[in-house]
Assembly symmetry: C2
Homo-oligomer: 238 residues x 2
DNA sequence: ACTTGCCTAAATCTACAGATTGATAAAATT
DNA sequence: AATTTTATCAATCTGTAGATTTAGGCAAGT
């Protein structure tokens, strides 16, 4: 939680000198903020963040030297506890999506009123997310679209449901890339029995080999019985 | 875009009779809304939505008969163009996450001021997302956490980067579950060359067979060169 | 000129995958 | 009681996967 007794330490990163100065002046007007760094270089900015651990980082996302998204990643990966607010000229849904996915806590357009920037700083500093309604809508455009695409692969008579309990067990081991012999040992049955099961699985999943069986399983939401917590495994797009 | 000349057609689904009545009365106070249906049954509600195509569906997410999340899924799957606003007593981050992922356009807590509900209706009816700041923060708690978990699997010296261009091409075909002969035909090289590449891939990825190579590729964010648009493939958690 | 890395390829060989057929016994359905 | 499904196993056979070794051509860097 934010300590109102102390000034918020803020870091600015923007390759555009004019913007940098403008923002700096804007923030200087606020008595309870303290600009601990301002730089036009993304790489330098990242190092400064690591050194000074600011409460909030205001960062442009369009920088020539280093991609803003990469910069977010670098800072997040570094483990420094800070709150990144993206300053962007664009409201592309996928840019917003990626920035937020990488761990940005706020996103503000440069065209927005400067008061929004102050709002953003306050919100993220107190552990909240700041994403104005317009940008939130943009974000969800991408997010829900991606989710829809994904759900398509799970649709249409999921053949996995036709598998018996035993076949599920076998398939689970198959998806771990284990060979017949090891599967037989793990399930304490003979290797030929395993082969029988695997063949039945192939027929049910309408594939010809284990690689395709595993692919089918993974792209159709196969979950092992044992795994209680459904591991999230959203991917790519980053 | 919303046509302000016509009244917004609204559907209510809430298993709690008192809530249902309360919301109905609340909405009736607004002159430009038209409640085209109100039911305590989730299943009936879904059918009513299919029949009457309301502009907005206000739906409780805690219903005994059918899970609210499933209800969202049913409506979205049906292809009916409508905007679902979730009414919930809980602000669990994963509940919000799942509801939004399934395609809900708004999320309002029952404890919130009734004016928020009106706001939500207006926003979603005009194609926007309505997610109050508190709930947005909750949503991103889950979202960013999931993304972090995911990124872990991609971390640590991604061996995929060590692959040559050609090896990448071969690996891509491997991940499609194609055999040596077909790969050779597709790349117009001999089968033995393919084997050589595959063996090199195995060594680089530190695996012994194609199944494990494919598994490694899929769990470490393998992307083919050709795929321009990064297909999102976020999964599970639903 | 020399080294290094990549793509290509052949030959050989072992081991495992996968197809096929057939059979038994228990369990669940009807 | 009769039938179907499931789980188990055996034997056989073909094909492919994958390991290994050797090697030529080619491009890029030292």
């Amino acid at each position: 939680m934010r300590d109102f007794g102390k000034k918020l330490r803020i870091m600015l990163i923007d390759d555009n000198a004019n913007h940098l100065r403008g923002i700096k002046e804007l923030i200087s007007l606020e008595t309870n903020y303290n600009v601990v760094g301002a730089t036009r270089s993304a790489n330098l900015g990242i190092n400064l963040v690591k050194k000074y651990h600011p409460d909030v980082v205001l960062m442009d996302i369009n920088m020539p030297e280093k991609d803003g998204l990469q910069a977010i990643q670098s800072i997040v990966k570094s483990g420094v506890q800070t709150n990144i607010v993206i300053l962007s000229g664009y409201d592309d849904s996928d840019l917003i999506y990626r920035a937020m996915k990488l761990g940005a806590k706020g996103y503000v357009l440069k065209t927005m009123a400067s008061s929004k920037l102050i709002d953003a700083i306050e919100e993220v500093a107190s552990g909240k997310i700041y994403l104005p309604a317009v940008l939130s809508t943009r974000f969800f455009e991408y997010f829900q679209n991606a989710a829809k695409e994904e759900s398509k692969t799970c649709e249409g008579e999921n053949l996995l449901t036709t598998l018996t309990v035993r076949e599920n067990e076998v398939l689970e081991l198959l998806t771990e890339g284990i060979n017949y012999k090891s599967i037989a040992q793990k399930l304490i049955i003979s290797e030929t029995t395993v082969k029988t099961h695997v063949n039945n699985i192939f027929q049910k999943l309408q594939v010809n080999d284990r690689t395709n069986a595993v692919l089918y399983a993974l792209t159709h939401g196969f979950k092992s019985e044992s795994s209680v917590s459904p591991k999230s495994a959203m991917m790519s797009a980053v």
